[in-house]
């Protein structure tokens, strides 16, 4: 018999009613009711109005920038995050524990501070900008700056998703591949990489989802120029400051819909990754 089944049959623990009641109440009050209020207001708009507000040229430019920079940042995270996770799990080197700890830094650091310090680093007189700007690499007040900030913010997601999978990877399989005559590169490509793929994709999707909604770090580094470096969340704030509630709500609903699509995608990916792990 499964251990879980015993629990189910003879569960004498008290407090289910109280805790589930409070959980549902609090969830509704803080998350579901405000979410419903926003969606309700959106349904108050006619379809034509909604479409007009959600697809102004400025809004389309903002979606496009948000989507493209988030995608690039997520790709950068998948690449460097995987490399970092690999190095941290597989190799011993001085400073390894420090680096492992610092990976969570973007997660704990307020996003506004991240944006502030990155903007100053890549500005023309900053530590990195003074070398990069003469080379034509402008990291502040450009779309590249947005990618840099989003890469910073998303890094922990990529690393922390892959790390446990790498730790649990059975080394025997690699030994078998080596015994059968595969070189290290061949082993990596045909044995290790396929086993890591679901986790890498999940980390990619998580970083992408985080980047789509990100606001705090971008405000400082992007310059927020309409049609050039203005992201969708910033445009929502602009509309609110103009008291254009309908405009803000229309944009927010588009962003929400996209976030939910991503959430569904991430859940499917995680299920796939879970099944993959059990099979191997």
């Amino acid at each position: 018999m499964l251990p879980g089944m015993a629990d189910k049959k003879f569960n004498a623990l008290p407090g289910f009613g109280l805790t589930i009641g409070f959980t549902l109440f609090y969830l509704s009050a803080i998350v579901l009711v405000p979410l419903a209020a926003l969606v309700c207001r959106a349904f108050g708009l006619s379809w034509a109005d909604f479409w007009r507000l959600a697809t102004t040229p400025r809004a389309l430019a903002a979606y496009r920038l948000t989507f493209e920079t988030s995608l690039l940042a997520a790709v950068a995270n998948a690449l460097f995050g995987s490399l970092l996770a690999w190095v941290l799990v597989r190799y011993q080197f001085p400073g390894r524990r420090l680096i492992d700890a610092v990976v969570d830094f973007p997660f704990a650091l307020p996003t506004a501070v991240a944006g502030l310090t990155l903007a100053s680093l890549f500005a023309a007189n900053g530590w990195l900008g003074r070398y990069l700007v003469p080379l034509g690499i402008k990291g502040a007040f450009t779309p590249l700056g947005v990618v840099i900030a989003l890469t910073f913010v998303g890094l922990p997601f990529a690393v922390r998703t892959l790390e446990p999978v790498l730790l649990n990877l059975e080394r025997e399989v690699e030994e078998v591949a080596a015994t059968l005559g595969a070189g290290r590169l061949r082993t990596f490509v045909s044995v290790i990489a396929p086993a890591l793929l679901p986790a890498v994709l999940t980390g990619f999707a998580l970083a992408f989802a985080r980047a789509i909604g990100e606001y705090g770090s971008i405000v400082f580094i992007s310059g927020n120029l309409p049609f050039k470096t203005e992201i969708a969340p910033f445009l929502i704030v602009m509309r609110l400051e103009e008291y254009d509630y309908a405009g803000a709500i229309a944009l927010a609903v588009v962003l929400l819909a996209f976030s939910f699509l991503l959430l569904v995608g991430i859940n499917l990916l995680e299920q796939w990754a879970g099944r993959f792990q059990r099979q191997t």
């Binding site: 623990l13 805790t19 409070f22 969830l27 595969a182 290290r184 909604g213 927010a252």
Partner: protein
């Protein structure tokens, strides 16, 4: 047999890229905050922190965290108890819903509360008639922070409670303890490290929240500016050293958060040995 290790050259190349990336993307931004904060010397930095408006921002940030963190701890404990110790239908759906605030843009989160409580919102007229202010006031900022940090404690606690199972609680109950005694003396000690990490992470994010708070705060200097909002205002007023001085306090908070996490992992590692 051929090796299961990369050649030393490949290994050191990969380590060098990883270290270089961490240096540029993590350590430089960190060091930069402190150097910029002291760009005009210690005296200027201290004066910037002692500015009444900055002090008001620090006080407000502490107040907001002091309200929103305990609320989310209470919720986290309740949700983890229900989810980890009992079986019920739609449990997966509930867990997904708890994670929902993670996937909603902070700006959209702030907008939700404006739609609900703002002057043109659903409850706006009623609130105005009763002289209550939520948007552009402290309650709105608290709500925004509670929303954004909503999943943190629950997320840390659920896996820990699930892993410990409920045999110990069953034993305590069989021995005559009541529900609260069981919770205080059996459950709480077994999840204390997960709970602690959940609390400090929740706290760091509540104090550092920018987007959601920015939408609901109204940016009234000395009244509804939290520390991150004050940082933005100082930066826009071209007082970068003052902005970085205030930002360095938030960096210290982030470093403290990481330190507690490392301590926690170290303690857990030692217990398992």
């Amino acid at each position: 047999m051929r090796g299961t290790e990369e050649s030393p050259l490949v290994r050191w190349l990969l380590i060098a890229i990883a270290l270089g990336f961490c240096f540029v993307f993590l350590l430089l931004p960190l060091a930069n905050v402190f150097v910029q904060a002291l760009a005009k010397g210690w005296g200027y930095c201290a004066k910037a922190l002692a500015d009444p408006d900055s002090l008001a921002a620090i006080r407000l940030t502490l107040l907001v965290a002091a309200i929103s963190v305990p609320l989310n701890v209470l919720f986290g404990l309740a949700a983890a108890w229900a989810i980890a110790k009992f079986e019920f239908p739609a449990k997966t759906l509930l867990i997904t819903l708890i994670d929902l605030p993670f996937s909603i843009s902070p700006v959209v989160a702030g907008l939700m509360f404006v739609v609900l409580f703002g002057l043109q919102g659903f409850l706006g007229p009623w609130l105005e008639a009763h002289d209550l202010k939520i948007i552009f006031a402290v309650p709105g900022i608290v709500l925004a922070c509670v929303f954004v940090t909503f999943p943190f404690v629950a997320r840390e606690l659920i896996p820990v409670m699930q892993a410990t199972g409920s045999e110990q609680e069953q034993a305590a109950l069989t021995l005559g303890a009541n529900g609260w005694q069981t919770f205080w003396h059996v459950t709480l000690p077994s999840v204390k490290w997960g709970l602690l990490y959940g609390i400090i992470l929740c706290n760091a994010r509540a104090m550092g929240e920018f987007g959601a708070v920015s939408v609901v705060s109204g940016h009234i200097t000395g009244k509804t500016d939290t520390m991150p909002l004050r940082v933005e205002k100082l930066y826009n007023e071209y007082d970068a050293p003052a902005a970085f001085a205030l930002a360095s306090l938030l960096v210290l908070l982030a470093l403290l958060t990481l330190a507690i996490k490392i301590l926690m992992e170290w303690r857990q590692g030692r217990r398992e040995v």
